[in-house]
Amino acid sequence: MADVRVSPVRHDGAVAVITASELTMQFGSSLALDDLKLSIETGVTGLVGANGAGKTTLMSIVLGLRAPTRGTVRVLGLDPSVAGAEIRALVGYGPERNVFPDEMPASDFVKHMAEVRGMPRAEARGRASDALWLVGLGEERFRPLGTMSTGQRQRVKLAQALAADPSLVLLDEPTDGLDPVQRDEMLALIRQISDEYQIDVLLSSHLLEEVERICDHVVALDHGRLVAHGRLDALTGHDDGVTVELVDVADQPDALTNVVAALEAVGLVVRRDGQTGRIDVLGADVDHVADAVRDACADAQARVARIVRRRRRLEDIFEAGSR
């Protein structure tokens, strides 16, 4: 078996990192992927969908671990069914599963994975250290994995995916088990990897909100079908109505409720965003809606933080596509 010479540079010079056509995967009578046609471009791409949507199957095909029942797929210009090993040398993978050899120091683990992905031994040691510093674990790099917190272990998973200088990184639920602060830091880190080092990222998540926050592109799957696909800013373009954010004022506890009641009294549809001070007011005539909001807020003596033209949310697109 000869050593494989692979280049970190994209083989066809194309912008598309992953392309698929008529991609179908069938397990017995179950259709895991149904005739997908997509093109994933450079940057950060969110792969969203509920459990069983086909995200993991798509990732395993991208890595060349499964051959599709029908259709074609190209990853970094290569065909996974014939160049799986070459693709996997260029792709870093951060699994969802959060179990690793507990007694192994983080630096040894990341170095070992860099070597397995093709780095020379001497290079792997330095790169492991650099990757751990990058993810914020420089000072902790000699600690055994078993003594690390969930957040630190998620960072180690990211570091091992990065250490061999991949062209593309696949991350499976990288914020799983993190608290809000850790989640923000992890998302910022993923964004940084793409912006500063031009490493493309395919982020698998069931959390639409975090995909909206950091992704350039979205691939939304539902029961193996492609329900939305494209640039996030194009998909979430302007929608009817306005979004209003009110300032929470202690001596006006009912302001938001009164504003909503006033808007509904004039026939507008209002959606409240949980317990926050944000509401979406729907209506085709945006000027009319904005005037009504202004009047309702004035009458209720509510303090307005922001009124903006309403944008469609990924959740709306996903729901519309799933119907």
Binding site: M1, D3, R5, R88, P95, F100, E103, G118
Partner: protein, 286 residues
């Protein structure tokens, strides 16, 4: 005070050549071999490897040392070359049952197997890397003491006559050792691949190798079945390769034909490899 300062550090792109599948296999094999021997691991993981090495090498070291210190002492007790392997028999059983299964059981338990499959490795190349690692470390236990013994005799001028004679004995020791390692590795990994718990793996391996010897003994000595049934004893059968290569036979296998020994070894090695391959074939990756 030193004038040294860090000019640049941090994550950077790699422009060199990647080592591909061979490099991945080499890395996994090296990492596994170190892990089996307890190198770079906590003290409790070094206990069994140290016990195995002590049991394996002490008889050889003691015999060579005594013969050096007391020249001519024990010449009449000197074992045949093929008998060298029998002195590390206990160490080999401990290694096969308690140490070798660690090579694959651990990866299944801690998720490393799935992670390895996201690298240039495939299921097949992963298994080959693991087999190479176990085979190499087992060779230390199985081949190390006979080689030490043989070299000890050679330096005391008690070895084979002439260069050709010496090379002939060395080659036969090497082939016998490799066949024994191959059979034991296949059996140990094949059986261990059925579970993700090390304790269960060790019990299962003991059940097969020691149980095989007991069942064979009962069949032949109590039920008075044919001596050919001894091929069901993987431990004894593999060891029998050594006397056959030196034109001799051990007492237990005296009535078993050499072709039966060869076929039996092939059968055990093939069964182990088959079990190992089947076990990893359907295992989920990503």
């Amino acid at each position: 005070m030193s004038d040294a300062r860090i000019l640049d550090r941090g994550y950077r792109r790699f422009e060199g050549t990647r080592s591909g599948v061979i490099g991945a296999m080499r890395s996994v094999a090296w990492h596994t071999a170190r892990s089996i021997l307890g190198l770079g691991r906590t003290a409790r993981h070094k206990v069994f490897p140290i016990i195995v090495m002590v049991i394996a090498f002490v008889p050889a070291i003691a015999f060579v040392a005594i013969s050096v210190l007391l020249k001519g002492f024990g010449d009449e007790l000197r074992p045949d070359y093929w008998e060298f392997f029998q002195y590390s028999f206990v160490a080999t059983i401990v290694f096969v049952a308690l140490v070798a299964p660690e090579a694959i059981v651990r990866d299944r338990r801690d998720g490393m197997f799935a992670l390895y499959l996201s690298t240039p490795l495939s299921r097949l190349t992963y298994v080959v890397a693991k087999v190479v690692a176990v085979l190499s470390t087992m060779a230390l236990v199985v081949l190390g003491p006979p080689v030490l013994w043989f070299l000890g005799y050679t330096f005391q001028s008690q070895g084979p006559d002439g260069l050709l004679g010496w090379l002939g004995v060395a080659a036969r020791l090497l082939v016998a050792g490799l066949v024994i390692c191959a059979v034991y590795t296949a059996v140990s990994l094949g059986v261990a691949s059925m579970t993700s718990r090390r304790a269960f793996a060790s019990i299962a391996v003991v059940f097969v190798v020691v149980g095989g010897a007991i069942v064979t003994d009962l069949l032949v000595n109590v039920a008075e079945r044919s001596e050919s049934w001894r091929v069901l004893d993987p431990l004894g059968l593999a060891l029998e390769v050594a006397p056959r290569l030196f034109g001799d036979r051990s007492d237990d296998f005296r009535a078993v034909g050499t072709w039966q020994v060869a076929l039996g070894c092939l059968g055990w090695a093939g069964s182990g490899v088959g079990l190992l391959t089947l076990s990893f074939r359907g295992r989920a990756a990503v």
